[in-house]
Amino acid sequence: MRRSQAVGGHPVRQSHSCDRLVEAIGELVARLDLPQGTLDLLILKTLALEPQHGWGVSERIRQISGDVLQVQQGSLYPALHRLERRGWIRSNWGVSDNNRRAKYYELTRTGRKQLEEESRSWRTLSTAVDSILDMA
C-alpha cells in the first residue's frame, strides 16, 4: 500500500461524482511518482526558508501541505544530489537538533533565481488548469 501514500495518491474523502476521476488521476500521478520538476520546486521552496537536511525537507513538505503531500522517500535523495550538481543548492555537514551529524542543504543564488522562475511557471500552469476546471 506504499503507493497510496505517495503524493496525490492520498486517499480522497469526497463523495461526489468526481470521486473516481480524482482517484484515477491520483493513481496516475502515483505511478509516475512526483513529476520531477514538481519535486524540485518543493525542495527549493523548502530550502528557501532555512537550510535543512534531507529528513527535514521531507518532514517540512509533509507538515506544510497538511499531510497531503508526502515525498516518496526514495526519490528525495537523488533529487537533492541532482540539484546540488546543477549548482542550485549546496551541502555542508552540520549538527542536528538532537546532536547528530547531518548533511544540511541550502539554496545558492542561482537556486534562488531558479525557484522564482519555477514558481512563476507553476503558478501560470495552475491558474490555467484552475480556469479550465472552473468552467464547469
Binding site: 526514495g74 535523495y77 537523488p78 533529487a79 544530489h81 547531518a102 542561482t110
Partner: protein
C-alpha cells in the same frame, strides 16, 4: 545553463569520479541519518523499536536502489558502466585467450598497415624543406610530338626575360664534384650548379650562414659553396666555425658560406651547391640540359603560366612549347608516386575490411556461445542497449589493444623501412608517427571495434523470444559471404607466399650465379675526370694511363684495368650503340643494339672474363691505323654463327670507323637481374671516356687499399677523387640491396596474409560448428566421438581451402611472370615455390580449423542439444 553553472557541474562530476570513496561515505551517512530519524518517529508514535525500524526501512525503500539513483544524479553513471564493462571485458579476454589473441593480432596487423600507409600519405602530402611547395613548378620544353626535355640556355634566358606569370625562375644543373681539403684525399660528391636566385625560388634557407650573393655569380669571383647538413656533420665535424673555411672543389678553392638544414638535399641527394658562374656563357640551342624551377605568382594557375611560357618558347624557337609539372612530382619522377601511395592506401583499407570481416565472424561465434550469459542479463533486468553496450565495449577494447600493438608495429615498420629504403625515399618525405597519425590510429581502432562488433552484438543480444522466431535462417547469406572472403584470403596467401619464395630463390640465384667475372679478389672504384682540363680525348687517354700506373705502384696490387661503363654500377642504357651490320647473303644492313664497353687491354685478365677464341688486346698497341675489337659470345653468335672462331679476323664498323675482331670472350652480366647483353669491347686508347672505373686484382682487402689508392691517384692529378673502393662481391650486394629490401617487404606481407587467412579460417570454422551445433550434439548423443564433429568441420574447411588454393595458384602464374622480369633466371613454373605455398597454406588452414573446432566443441557440451 550558464558558463559558471557548467563549470560547477563539471567540477561536481570530476569530484564524483575521483573522490568516490568520500561521496559514497557521505551518502551512506546521510541515508543512515534519515533512517534513524524515521525510526525515532515511529517509536514516538508508540511502535516497538524492532517494528519501528522495520517499518522505516520499508518506507525508505531499498537502500542500494536509492544509492544507485543518487549515483546517476552525480552524472557519472555511464562512466561507471563503461568501467564495469571494461573490467568485465578484460576478465573475459583472460578466459578466452585464443579468440582474443587471434582477433587482437589480426587487428594489430590491419591497423599497422593502415597507420603506416597513412603516415606515408601524410609525408607525401606535406613535403618538408620547401616553402609553399604547391606554388613550385619544374619547367620543361616540349617539341611538336610532345617529347619532353629540359631547357636550352637561350630558351631559359628568353623565359626569364619575358615571363610575367612566375614570381621567380631559376636554372640549375646536377653533377658530381671532386672535393678535397688539406686533411683529406679528394672525394666524389653529388652536387648542384646553382643559377641566381634558386634558393629564393625554393624558399629554402641555410641554418648556418647565408645563400649566395650576386657577386659570387661573376666569372672569376671568389668561389663560394653551400654544403648539406650531412656533409657538414660527416666531413666538417659539425664545427661552428666552418663559415669562410676553404674547400678544394675540382681543383679550385671555394669558401663555405652556408650550411643547409638537416635533410635538405635538393634536388635528389646533393651535398654541395655551387654558384653557376658560367651559366651566361652557355649558348647551345640544342643542348637542353638546364633544369629550371619556378614559383607561380600568387593567383596565377599553372595552366596560365604554362600557356605564357609556351608562347615565349614558340617565339624563340620553332615548334617548342612549355610543360609545367608540380615540383613535388618532378622530384619523384612524375605522378607515379601518388598513384602508388593511393594504391597502397586502398590496399591497406581492403585489408582492414577483411580483418573486420574475420573478427566479426569470430565474435559472432563467440557471442552466440554466450546466449546463456545474455539470457542472464535480460533476466536481471538489463535493457538490450545495455547488453549491446557491454558486447561493444568488449569489441572496442580488443580493437584498441590491437590498435596499440598496431601503432608499435607501425613505429617499428617506419624505422625499418626508412632504414632499408633510405636512398629510395625522397629526402623531403618525412615519414613519422605524429599526432595526426596517432589520432588516425586511435580513431580507426575504435571504428574497427564498433564495425566488427556491431553485427555480432546486435545478433546475439536479441531477446530469447526473437532469437527463437528468427532461428538460424538469417545467418545463411552472411556465412556464404564469409566463405567467399575466406577463400579470397587463402588465394591471396598462396599468391604472396609463392611470389615470396620465388623472389627469395631468385635473389639467392643472383648471389650464387656465375656472372662471368670474378667476384672475389677484384676491387673496383670509379674515378670520373671532372675537371675542365680533361675535355680533350688526348688528356683523357693520358689520365687513364696514369691512373693505371699509380694503382700499380701500390704494394699488393697485381694488375689494374679501367673500363666504361662499369658492370653493376653504370646504367647500360646510356651506352648502347646501334651497329650497322651487313650480313653475308642479304644485301641490306640492319641495326644491332650492343653494349659498348671501352676498356684497357688487361680488363679481361683482371676480371677473369674467359677468352673463348683469338686473343685479347695487346698491351703495347698504341694508336695504330688498324683498330681492334673484342666481342662476346652472344654478339659473335648473332653475327657469325655458333663457332667463336668464325668471328676472328672479321671487321666491324662503329661510328664510321672500322674495327677488326681479334677475340671472342664469354658472356658476362652487366645488370645481374637481366640477361647478359650482346657486348662489344673497344680500347680506351682508341675511344677515350671521361667516366672511368678502376679495377684491381689485389692481395689486400678493399679497406686496406682505399687510402693509399686515393693518395696515389691524387698524386697523379690533384683534382682526381675516387669513390669508395669495394670488392666486386660487395658491389653486387649493394646492387641487390633494393631487391633484397623489396623481397623482405614482400615476405612480411605474405606472413600477414597467412595470419589473416588463419584468422579467417578460425572464425569461419567456429561459426560452422555453431551453425551445426544441433547436428553435432545429436551425433554425440548417439555415441559419435568429438572426432566425428571435428571431422565434419575439417571436411568443409578443406573444401574451401582447396578452392582458395586452386584460385591462388591460377593467379600466381602471371605474378611469377612479373617477377621474372625483375630476377633473371627464374623458372616459368617454379615447382618449389608452389609446393611451399600449398604446404604452408594447407598446414595453417588445418591448424586453424582444428583448433577452432575443438574449442567450439568443448566450450558448451550440452548447449547444442538444448537449442
Amino acid at each position: 545553463m550558464s558558463e559558471r553553472n557548467l563549470l560547477g557541474d563539471l567540477r561536481y562530476r570530476v569530484r564524483a569520479l575521483f573522490q568516490r570513496r568520500l561521496l559514497e561515505d557521505d551518502l551512506d551517512a546521510e541515508l543512515q541519518f534519515h533512517l534513524a530519524r524515521l525510526t525515532e518517529k515511529h517509536i514516538h508514535s508508540g511502535m516497538a523499536p524492532a517494528e519501528a525500524s522495520r517499518r522505516a526501512r520499508l518506507e525508505l525503500g531499498r537502500l542500494d536502489q536509492i544509492k544507485d539513483e543518487c549515483r546517476q544524479s552525480w552524472g557519472v553513471a555511464w562512466i561507471d558502466a563503461l568501467l564495469r564493462d571494461f573490467r568485465f571485458a578484460i576478465a573475459r579476454m583472460g578466459r578466452h585467450p585464443r579468440s582474443a589473441a587471434v582477433t587482437g593480432i589480426s587487428l594489430a596487423l590491419g591497423i599497422t598497415a593502415n597507420t603506416l600507409m597513412f603516415s606515408v600519405f601524410m609525408a607525401a602530402q606535406n613535403p618538408t624543406h620547401f616553402d609553399r611547395i604547391d606554388e613550385l613548378v619544374q619547367i620543361y620544353e616540349s617539341d611538336s610530338r610532345g617529347l619532353r626535355s629540359h631547357v636550352s640556355a637561350p630558351n631559359y634566358r628568353a623565359m626569364k626575360r619575358l615571363q610575367q606569370s612566375l614570381a621567380a625562375i631559376a636554372a640549375y644543373r646536377t653533377r658530381a664534384f671532386s672535393i678535397s681539403d688539406h686533411l683529406r684525399h679528394p672525394e666524389l660528391v653529388d652536387g648542384v650548379l646553382v643559377g641566381p636566385d634558386l634558393f629564393g625560388v625554393l624558399g629554402s634557407r641555410p641554418v648556418l650562414g647565408r645563400t649566395f650573393d650576386e657577386s659570387e655569380f661573376n666569372v672569376g669571383g671568389s668561389g663560394a659553396v653551400i654544403v648539406s647538413h650531412d656533409f657538414w656533420r660527416s666531413r666538417l665535424a659539425a664545427r661552428d666555425d666552418v663559415l669562410g673555411q676553404p674547400l678544394t672543389i675540382d681543383g679550385n678553392s671555394h669558401a663555405i658560406v652556408g650550411v643547409m638544414p638537416s635533410g635538405f638535399r635538393f634536388p635528389f641527394a646533393s651535398d654541395v651547391w655551387l654558384p653557376w658562374t658560367r651559366l651566361s656563357e652557355e649558348s647551345s640551342r640544342h643542348t637542353r640540359n638546364l633544369r629550371v624551377a619556378g614559383r607561380l605568382s600568387a593567383g596565377v594557375p599553372a595552366q596560365g603560366a604554362e600557356a605564357e611560357l609556351g608562347g615565349i618558347l614558340a617565339h624563340a624557337e620553332h615548334d617548342r612549347s612549355a610543360f609545367l609539372m608540380p615540383l613535388a612530382e618532378a622530384l619523384t619522377g612524375g605522378d607515379r608516386m601518388r598513384t602508388v601511395i593511393s594504391l597502397l592506401l586502398v590496399t591497406a583499407g581492403l585489408l582492414l575490411l577483411v580483418v573486420c570481416l574475420n573478427v566479426s565472424s569470430i565474435r559472432s561465434a563467440d557471442f552466440v556461445s554466450r546466449q546463456r550469459e545474455t539470457a542472464t542479463y535480460f533476466a536481471l533486468g538489463a535493457s538490450r542497449a545495455q547488453v549491446v553496450q557491454r558486447f561493444l565495449t568488449e569489441s572496442v577494447l580488443v580493437a584498441l589493444a590491437g590498435g596499440a600493438a598496431g601503432v608499435v608495429g607501425a613505429h617499428w615498420s617506419i624505422r625499418h623501412i626508412t632504414a632499408q629504403f633510405e636512398s629510395e625515399i625522397p629526402y623531403w618525405m618525412e615519414i613519422r608517427l605524429d599526432e595526426a597519425v596517432l589520432a588516425y590510429a586511435v580513431g580507426l581502432s575504435v571504428l574497427v571495434g564498433i564495425v566488427s562488433g556491431l553485427q555480432p552484438a546486435l545478433r546475439s543480444s536479441r531477446t530469447p523470444l526473437k532469437a527463437l522466431q528468427e532461428g538460424q535462417s538469417g545467418s545463411r547469406s552472411t556465412s556464404n559471404l564469409l566463405k567467399l572472403v575466406v577463400a579470397v584470403q587463402i588465394a591471396a596467401a598462396v599468391v604472396l607466399l609463392a611470389g615470396t619464395k620465388t623472389a627469395i630463390d631468385g635473389l639467392r640465384n643472383l648471389q650464387d650465379r656465375d656472372l662471368g667475372f670474378s667476384l672475389d679478389g677484384t676491387l673496383a672504384t670509379s674515378v670520373p675526370l671532372l675537371s675542365d682540363r680533361f675535355a680533350s680525348g688526348e688528356s683523357q687517354r693520358t689520365a687513364a694511363a696514369q691512373l693505371i700506373e699509380s694503382a700499380l705502384s701500390l704494394p699488393g696490387v697485381n694488375r689494374a684495368a679501367a673500363i666504361n661503363p662499369m658492370p653493376m654500377r653504370d646504367n647500360w642504357n646510356t651506352t648502347l650503340v646501334d651497329l650497322p651490320v651487313s650480313r653475308s647473303g642479304s644485301g641490306g644492313t640492319e641495326q644491332v643494339r650492343v653494349l659498348d664497353y671501352r676498356c684497357t687491354p688487361n680488363y679481361f685478365s683482371v676480371t677473369q672474363v674467359r677468352l673463348l677464341a683469338g686473343e685479347s688486346f695487346r698491351r703495347t698497341g698504341d694508336t695504330t691505323d688498324r683498330r681492334e675489337a673484342v666481342v662476346n659470345r652472344k654478339l659473335a653468335r648473332f653475327l657469325w654463327g655458333a663457332n667463336p672462331l668464325a668471328a676472328i679476323g672479321r671487321s666491324l664498323k662503329v661510328a664510321g670507323q672500322s674495327y677488326m675482331v681479334i677475340g671472342v670472350v664469354e658472356d658476362s652480366y652487366h645488370d645481374p637481374r637481366r640477361e647478359p647483353p650482346r657486348a662489344l669491347y673497344r680500347r680506351l686508347a682508341d675511344v677515350p671516356a671521361r667516366r672511368l672505373s678502376l679495377l684491381l686484382d689485389a692481395d689486400l682487402p678493399a679497406e686496406a687499399l682505399e687510402r693509399p689508392l686515393a693518395a696515389a691517384v691524387q698524386k697523379s692529378d690533384p683534382t682526381l677523387a675516387i669513390s669508395s673502393l669495394m670488392s666486386m662481391r660487395s658491389l653486387l650486394s649493394d646492387y641487390l640491396s633494393v631487391s633484397r629490401a623489396s623481397t623482405q617487404v614482400l615476405a612480411a606481407v605474405s606472413v600477414v596474409a597467412l595470419i589473416l587467412a588463419m584468422a579467417g579460417i578460425y572464425g569461419m570454422s567456429m561459426s560452422l560448428v555453431k551453425g551445426q551445433a544441433r547436428e553435432l550434439a545429436i551425433r554425440r548423443a548417439l555415441g559419435s566421438s568429438d572426432g566425428g564433429a571435428v571431422r565434419l568441420v575439417l571436411k568443409q574447411t578443406t573444401q574451401l581451402t582447396a578452392g582458395g588454393v586452386l584460385a591462388g595458384t591460377a593467379l600466381t602464374v602471371p605474378v611469377i611472370g612479373l617477377l621474372r622480369s625483375g630476377f633473371y633466371g627464374i623458372a616459368e613454373y617454379p615447382a618449389m615455390s608452389f609446393a611451399t605455398a600449398w604446404l604452408a597454406v594447407a598446414a595453417t588452414s588445418l591448424a586453424a580449423a582444428t583448433s577452432a573446432a575443438y574449442r567450439a566443441v568443448q566450450a558448451e557440451p550440452a548447449e547444442g542439444l538444448s537449442r
